[in-house]
Point group: C2
Chain length 164, copies 2
């Protein structure tokens, strides 16, 4: 078991893009309940089954097990109604590793940055391209995004009557 | 991936009890959705994480992975609101292995028998102690029983007004 302490942000601009190569991730969920999230993830020729349980909005218990890629593909196809596809860029900045996720598929257009910390109050230095923090907005979890793609959120709809 | 083809029954009497030793199982669920059941099971010093997906009431896809026992205990405690505790007896009869599950805890009093078959229409010989088939009643799945213990079912309530 690991304790995962993570803060999550939007990005302000594309300044992160030239800083890393990026690798392709595809993942789906067997449970999106925040107390018992069950994720299957494929990255290249590797795959994992991951269980996460919310402790606070910043901290989670995490259990992760490698599984055969052919199992993961079959589980994604047969048991995961919604999948998330993204490219992940790992960027070192001031002693910490930032993971920038560029979403594709149903969530195309969304870019999020995450940093893993040793404690909830560990200080960190903001890269120039970092935007607003969204750690406390549960809609920005990948499990929520799998079922409720970002472009469909009310905030992201074209202007309504009042702006016409 | 395995294809699991199973038929499930009540038992008629205790004729099964002298036929095997039995071993203790404790299991909990991270998802009870029949299309994507996620189970953690502990048996003695071994533990597994198992994913099942309903194909028909008799057939299921199944993926099973061994995990460390200390992980399983932590997952049961932190992420599984409902658990099933039972003793399982494996009984050979006419070339097939019957598993008789005697439930304890919230489901105390319930005994079920299961047989795994190679195909949905494989013939099988009924042991004397076997009762009615319940394969097609989804309430008799362990995942349903974990949340809705058998003694609480309306069928099992004391007689109502009409019988007074």
């Amino acid at each position: 078991m690991n304790l995962e302490i993570e803060r999550r942000f939007r990005v302000r601009d594309a300044g992160w893009r030239a800083l890393a190569e990026g690798e392709w991730l595809k993942q789906g969920y067997l449970s999106v309940d925040p107390q018992r999230t069950v994720r299957v993830r494929v990255k290249g020729e590797q795959a994992w089954l991951t269980l996460k349980s919310l402790i606070t909005e910043v901290a989670r218990h995490e259990f992760e097990y490698p599984i055969p890629c052919r199992d993961a593909d079959a589980i994604l196809a047969a048991m995961c109604p919604f999948v998330v596809e993204k490219r992940r860029y790992r960027i070192e900045h001031a002693g910490l590793t930032w993971e920038v996720d560029e979403f594709f598929g149903a969530n195309a257009g969304l870019v999020l940055a995450e940093v893993e910390l040793a404690s909830e109050d560990q200080p960190y230095q903001r890269p120039d391209w970092l935007g607003d923090e969204v750690t406390h907005d549960p809609r920005y979890t990948n499990s929520y995004l799998s079922e409720h793609p970002w472009p469909s959120w009310p905030d992201n709809q074209p202007a309504g009557e009042e702006n016409r």
